[in-house]
């Protein structure tokens, strides 16, 4: 019985065969399988052979609760994908995309040729940047009501505290919507994720967005983020920028 499967990291498109600079993958040695053309570019699958006793379906399912194991696999996967970031286009796969052999992997991608080619076209010469905005709890919280001498004063204090919280929330929504729109104008595409999915230190997450940015506009994008971060900082807003990432968020329709 065959003991290895073909692990697919990404599809890479370039004018010339890219060098494999990161040879160690999740397991096995990273190599390329040529896949024909997408417009003027050639395409390759970036793969490695992984032992199925460790990366078969049952083996993976059994290991999913092992945080360290999954994290190492994720970091290794990402490192391989990133190692091709100088290519014209990289279309990253999800973690643990594994086929029985090279032929099955190739057949799968051939069947999805149009989808892959559309993704290549969309992300060509672009990178992904992530922007998160959190509200610094200490700075933004309404002050506690002053010690009230009468019941009425106490209630008034409570009301003003509540009004202030409502006002802050409304402001925050406007601020992040404006920021998102402004950054979108520098980007080719943008996706805003429902906040709250990620546990974030330091206050409520107001914005969790990904931007597909042309390489030529990356510096400008960063400048805008920095400028806005400085402007918003006194109001308790904190802006975190991550990346550049392979365009993970923009390869699906």
């Amino acid at each position: 019985m065959k003991s290895t499967g073909t692990y697919v990291y990404c599809v890479v498109a370039a004018e010339r065969r890219p060098a494999v600079t990161r040879t160690r993958g999740v397991a096995g040695t990273v190599r390329l399988i040529e896949q024909g053309r997408a417009a003027a570019l050639k395409k390759w699958l970036v793969v490695s052979d992984v032992p199925l006793d460790r990366f078969g379906e049952a083996a993976i399912n059994a290991k999913l609760s092992d945080l360290e194991w999954v994290s190492r696999a994720a970091v290794a996967h990402e490192a391989v994908v990133e190692s091709f970031s100088n290519a014209a286009a990289v279309v990253p796969m999800k973690l643990f995309t594994i086929f029985t052999d090279d032929d099955r992997a190739t057949a799968n991608f051939r069947a999805q040729g149009e989808v892959v080619d559309a993704a290549i076209k969309r992300v060509r010469d672009r990178i992904e940047l992530g922007v998160r905005v959190t509200l610094d709890g200490a700075r933004s919280q309404a002050p506690p009501p002053r010690r009230a001498s009468t019941g009425a004063a106490y209630l008034a204090g409570k009301k003003s505290q509540r009004d202030r919280a409502v006002e802050l929330a409304r402001n925050a929504r406007e601020v992040v919507a404006e920021l998102y729109d402004q950054l979108s104008t520098v980007a080719s595409d943008a996706i805003r994720r429902p906040a709250s999915e990620l546990p974030i230190k330091g206050g409520p997450l107001l914005l969790d967005a990904a931007f597909l940015v042309p390489r030529t506009a990356t510096a400008r994008f960063r400048k805008v983020v920095e400028r806005r971060a400085k402007e918003l900082e006194p109001g308790g807003y904190r802006i975190a920028l991550t990346g550049p990432w392979p365009p993970y968020s923009f390869v699906r329709d």
């Binding site: 692990y7 994290s71 994720a74 990402e78 990253p92 796969m93 230190k201 904190r238 991550t242």
Partner: protein, 77 residues
């Protein structure tokens, strides 16, 4: 280029949160990316569930992952 130093000087406003780096990687490789469902891993169910569980363990993640210095350097750029 001394990225880290320069970025620090710009302002604390553009926050670098190295402790989220591994979670960021997990977030990307588990919940995003394409499309192909490998025939070997067709039955690796609940990738989203793994992600939720992992994100709940964020702090532990970074302690077990000394192997991500690259991401840290890059997120400071």
């Amino acid at each position: 280029m001394p990225r880290g130093i320069k970025r620090r000087a710009v302002a604390d406003a553009v926050l670098d949160e190295p402790e989220t780096s591994v979670l960021d990687v997990l977030d990307h490789v588990l919940t995003k990316g394409v499309m192909a469902t490998g025939d070997v891993t067709l039955g690796v169910a609940g990738v989203d569930l793994i992600y939720l569980r992992l994100s709940a363990l964020l702090c532990a993640t970074d302690r077990v992952m000394p192997a991500a210095p690259r991401r840290r350097a890059r997120s400071r750029r």
